[in-house]
Amino acid sequence: MSLIYPRSGLKAHPLNNSPDYRSTLKRAPSQPLILLPHTLSETTGPVFGHVAVSEIDSDLTRAHAGEPLGERIIVTGRVLDEDGRPVPNTLIEIWQANAAGRYVHVRDQHPAPLDPNFTGAGRAVTDADGRYRFVTIKPGAYPWRNHHNAWRPAHIHFSLFGPSFLSRVITQMYFPGDPLFRFDPIFQSITDERARNRLVSRFDIETTEPEWALAYQFDIVLRGRDATPTEEPHEH
């Protein structure tokens, strides 16, 4: 199957020049980007099949001898292309803070406790329907120094490859109803509200498992459409 990569969808992305997020000030390029034709170098990309992942990689609560503290959750959804077709067999990497809002990373100095039973890194590969599923704990909000009283809304980082260099994306999944959304310059860097809200997962009672874990659905749409779309029949 051959894919094309229209540029029309790219307006959903934030601009690197988003000064309310202060780390952009010295890092966002000041020169205009140069339009790149889509050559073989861009329309191909690394392939990571199921060999890259073992079953336990998608359950972040089983990485240590004991169970982590916090609210156990299921995070599941589908990876789709711009036509809504599943993207099967594609790798997803995730990472997150623990329930107290602390990352394992050595440079995270937030004075909240580390959890010896939680690292917060996972991997999964989508199935034939583009579906993935993680078990983890709900991450906590945490403070940062972007501005006075700055707090990140709870989020899980997602890294995806898709079929090519052009479909590669790193993003963050948020939780519904977070009161910190309106104060967060990273979330708000996406200027289109509908696009922004695509990063908010949906609580799903149907997938929630009784006596065990709440479930959140998060679908991800990657760049790429069928190069030879078939005309849908019109109703007369």
């Binding site: 690197n16 010295k26 790149l36 170098s41 789709l80 990472w95 260099f165 993003t171």
Partner: protein, 191 residues
């Protein structure tokens, strides 16, 4: 299966400062999906090492970036059969001093648009705190005569082309610094 057309792309967000224990987890004892080593032993081609530093608009090192590289093999092919040990994909975390390296084989020339030939190059993604969407760039090589006919370099103003060209120095190591902003800013692409 019914396919409902999605509302639009999932927007990008920054990689943030705390990705290493998941994406480049060597120091954390985690399993690495990909590393600075792109080609295993026995892969055909000229062995090369590319080194560089990622710098911000003040010229300060960016010590929390991730660099990913993607390339053809020595014959200019992607995903060629019978090329075991060659992934084509490299991933490196910058050091506290902003440094990174990639060890690979020199890629071959490959077809470009409209019957052109692309000079050997690596395709690069730069992710970092402060970047809300990855930066796309390319690494070319200063000893390739084909650069003069490369259709992508031709799109770049001549005075900025040099930012895309790694320069061979002592010990045969190619040098490629990435300047995110300001003087001699690296050319980044709208892919």
């Amino acid at each position: 299966m019914s396919t409902e057309k999605p509302d639009g792309l999932t927007p990008s967000q920054t990689i943030g400062p705390f990705f290493a224990y998941a994406l480049t987890p060597r120091a954390y004892g985690g399993s690495e999906l990909a590393t600075e080593q792109v080609a295993g032993e026995g892969v055909a081609g000229e062995r090369i090492r590319i080194e560089g530093t990622v710098l911000d608009g003040d010229g300060a090192p960016v010590g929390d970036a991730m660099i990913e590289t993607w390339q053809a093999d020595a014959e200019g092919r992607f995903h060629a059969a019978g090329n075991a040990g060659f992934t084509g994909f490299g991933r490196a975390e910058t050091s506290a001093e902003g440094g990174f390296f990639i060890e690979t084989i020199r890629p071959g020339a490959l077809p470009g648009p409209n019957g052109t030939t692309q000079a050997p190059h690596l395709t690069v993604s730069v992710f970092a705190r402060g970047l809300l969407i990855r930066l796309a760039t390319r690494i070319y090589f200063d000893d390739e005569p084909g650069n003069a006919q490369d259709p992508v370099l031709a799109l770049v103003p001549a005075e900025r082309r040099g930012t895309l060209i790694a320069k061979r120095g002592a010990g045969g190591i190619f040098r490629f610094d990435i300047r995110l902003q300001g003087e001699d800013e690296t050319v980044f692409f709208d892919a």
